[in-house]
Point group: C2
Chain length 473, copies 2
């Protein structure tokens, strides 16, 4: 059957009749924005479907399943593992949730929000801010709520507020089997212990189990004061010791603890000039943030507390240097890393995590693997050190052969998962770009179980571009 | 086949041969402690099996499945819905996880613990305390870690620290199908976004999907200061307004916000004499606690902050009276309620939750239903008001017919679930005592899905005494 076969054309006609011209985009120029990928090469879609609400989406999915079509769900397409990008062969429909915008409802008394899948995080937070509330998931992108649930977004403030999973109270979704079946609930309950938690099943399974149409999330008080410091230390070990100390002294206030390697700092310095506040680039640095919902002048002065803590550590020689500055100034350095590293040449990126206690030995092992397998690489690692996450990114010569990069990737994934009990995907998730490593690194019994679920919930294998079951089955 | 048939006897012999006399308890006197139930009538077990480790447990479960035996998993049997109690017909084996005690390992740098299923919460917390850490799930019982995962325990400090689900990093378990298959992981990762979260599937499904053998949980700093107040208000509405105000002013410090109705306060006063610090029993009272991991003398004085906040509210006439006292004094009142209510006569208990914004209207509706259907009942409700939970307990005359109580229960469950979007089981979970209401109140599509999973993971229907699928299927 060719792509333009009569069967597909009659499907397109039926879809257009129900969804209207705004709901079905078939021309290349219209499709193009939905075919791009945030980090990798784009794909090609059979067409883009934009149902206007959950009911239309359910109808659409039923039609697609009945026709044996294939579909990839897409929110804002900001993910970094290709989970929302159609394949390159033009066989998949993109099912966009962008127009699911019928509900954005804040319950300030309950500190929760119920949000249609198509709203962006920034839109939710603008509405929540009117009530002094926020969903404090802090990432480099502005995903839709549907995408956040499907990919279980993490970010820089997970150490304090949790990620998508921890803030999810309820999810509504549409299933591929039974085709178009609507399930789930928007009950905004913090306590509801009545069996299988359907929201948790849909969170972080990348659309393979169903299409998220609505999410209910908990909200937190907007922080009324914060203090941020960039601290230079002489080793990763010292940084790990520091996070324990800081949590002991500042407890619940710690809202970010980001690690910045010498390589990452050098990249920023080179890319942005005199932005670093240190005379010499230190061996390692940490961006620490403490914050509170308690307004200043009510008996809590976090800047004074952090200052005292840093002075004590400086006096004890446990840190090399420290700068307290406006948060925006210091976060700018952290946020500049990704672009700075990419500006240096060809970037190879990793998104790993280990227990904090394993961080220093794992990093040493990874550096020695890089030294052995790709000695020309320049490592610029950084990440969410407080929660054990590390983006072990590096710049490699443009002409580095793909198989050399592949060998290094294999070795590092094996080390992090098998030697150090870590994860090959800390926060970006499993998409086509991690599929092979998922099969290789995840527990076989769990893959088997996930496959059973996926076959059950998507009998015709219509949804998405990841397969959570065992490889080749 | 009778209970003492040769097939069963040969099973008992095989089990005894492998597990030894400590591992197989067949005599009535030995079985008795495992047949009791914390709140309801006990059951009768075919025998009690106490494997010494996960490997023995896996072997045991395989034997049981092969023999077509039935089994109910039991930790400390402290649950309130009968989930760990064998049926009364003597057909079920109790599979005790008490002897799974091979690992209790604290990682202070990672702030996590990996714990074999048989350890009690208090044992974990004693070990964690040596590192200044704690799993701050606060309940009236001392469950095992395995039981906490299976029942997704909540408690009084969920508002601040979350319950079992939010603190769970990993779970190891044994499946009934494939029989004796060990799955899961103890990786102590805060970020691990690699597909289906197996731990979340086992949490709160009451042993129906597998037997938990080990859990990895996050730990929190032990609180170094706290301030507690008992506050009298003139209505439930005022209490709800107060929790919003308190969270606005005290943000992340709020660690408990418990509601105590006039009936509950009267019960305590009658049961314990002059324990109430108020001259008159108020219409409603709140026990509020703020706490911090920051030690006193480091720039934070929570008692002073709470005092100032209460004075302001007193001056504004928004609260009737307030007492700041030693936490133990005030918590004693809260903890006395359950026993005090039971001492007044025959107790009928509910474990409900709603969004906080629906709390006052739901309570009014419930009181009017009680007035209509069981006017002789004396309501003594209390609960975790901060997270929307309410134990709508009442005392009824000893001779109240069971069907009158049943009609009231039906009406209240319908109201909370259908009119107010709440839950019929906020934290106690689904056990035999909630089974009928599970079928009646839970979404049919979700029950269907849970049934598919349960059939897949327990093909022979060997495990536990709850059925999460649709009724009658």
């Amino acid at each position: 059957m060719t792509l333009e076969s009569p069967v597909q054309d009659s499907l397109a006609a039926r879809l257009t009749q129900r969804l209207g011209p705004r709901g079905v985009l078939l021309q290349a120029a219209e499709r193009a924005p939905y075919e791009a990928s945030a980090r990798h090469a784009g794909g090609r879609a059979r067409g883009v479907l934009r149902p206007a609400d959950a009911q239309e989406l359910a109808w659409t999915l039923k039609e697609l399943v009945t026709a044996g079509a294939h579909v990839v769900t897409q929110g804002a397409a900001t993910g970094l593992v290709g989970g929302a990008t159609p394949t390159t062969d033009g066989s998949q429909w993109v099912l966009s949730t962008q127009r699911l915008r019928d509900v954005l409802s804040i319950d300030p008394v309950n500190r929760s929000a119920t949000v249609a899948a198509g709203f962006r995080l920034s839109e939710l937070n603008r509405a929540a801010a009117e009530h002094g509330l926020s969903l404090p998931i802090d990432l480099g992108a502005d995903p839709t709520l549907g995408g956040m649930v499907a990919t279980n977004t993490g970010g820089a403030r997970l150490i304090r507020f949790g990620g998508a999973r921890e803030n999810l109270l309820g999810v509504e979704a549409v299933l591929a089997h039974p085709a178009g079946q609507r399930v789930g609930s928007s009950r905004a309950l913090r306590k509801n212990n009545t069996g299988l938690d359907w929201a948790q099943l849909l969170c972080g399974t990348f659309g393979a189990f169903g299409v998220v149409t609505r999410a209910t999330v908990r909200l937190h008080s907007i922080q009324q004061q914060s203090a941020t410091a960039l601290v230079a230390v002489d080793s990763v070990e010292a940084a790990i010791e520091m996070v324990c100390d800081l949590e002991q002294a500042m407890g619940e206030f710690v809202s970010a603890f980001e690690g910045l390697s010498r390589g990452a700092l050098q990249a920023v310095a080179r890319h942005q000039g005199g932005v670093l506040p240190f005379a010499d680039v230190p061996a390692y640095a940490v961006l620490m943030e403490v914050s509170s919902a308690v307004p200043p002048g009510c008996g809590l002065d976090l800047e004074a507390m952090l200052m005292a803590w840093l002075e004590q550590h400086l006096a004890q020689g446990r840190i090399v240097d420290a700068v307290i500055d406006k948060p925006a100034q210091l976060w700018r350095i952290r946020h500049a890393i990704s672009e700075a590293v990419q500006s240096l040449g060809r970037m190879v990126a990793f998104d790993l995590s280990v227990a904090r206690s394993a961080f220093a030995p794992f990093r040493a092992r990874a550096l020695s693997l890089i030294d052995e397998l790709l000695p020309a690489a320049s490592v610029c690692d950084f990440g969410h050190l407080g929660d054990g996450g590390v983006h072990l990114n590096m710049v490699v010569p443009q002409d580095t052969p793909a198989d050399a990069i592949g060998r290094l990737r294999d070795a590092i994934y094996d080390a992090v998962v098998r030697e150090f009990g870590g994860s090959f995907s800390a926060e970006h998730g499993v998409g086509p770009y991690n599929q092979a490593y998922y099969h290789r690194c995840s527990e076989p019994a769990m893959q088997a179980m996930a496959g059973v679920l996926q076959r059950q919930l998507d009998t015709a294998r219509v949804l998405g571009n990841v397969w959570l079951g065992e490889a080749g089955i």
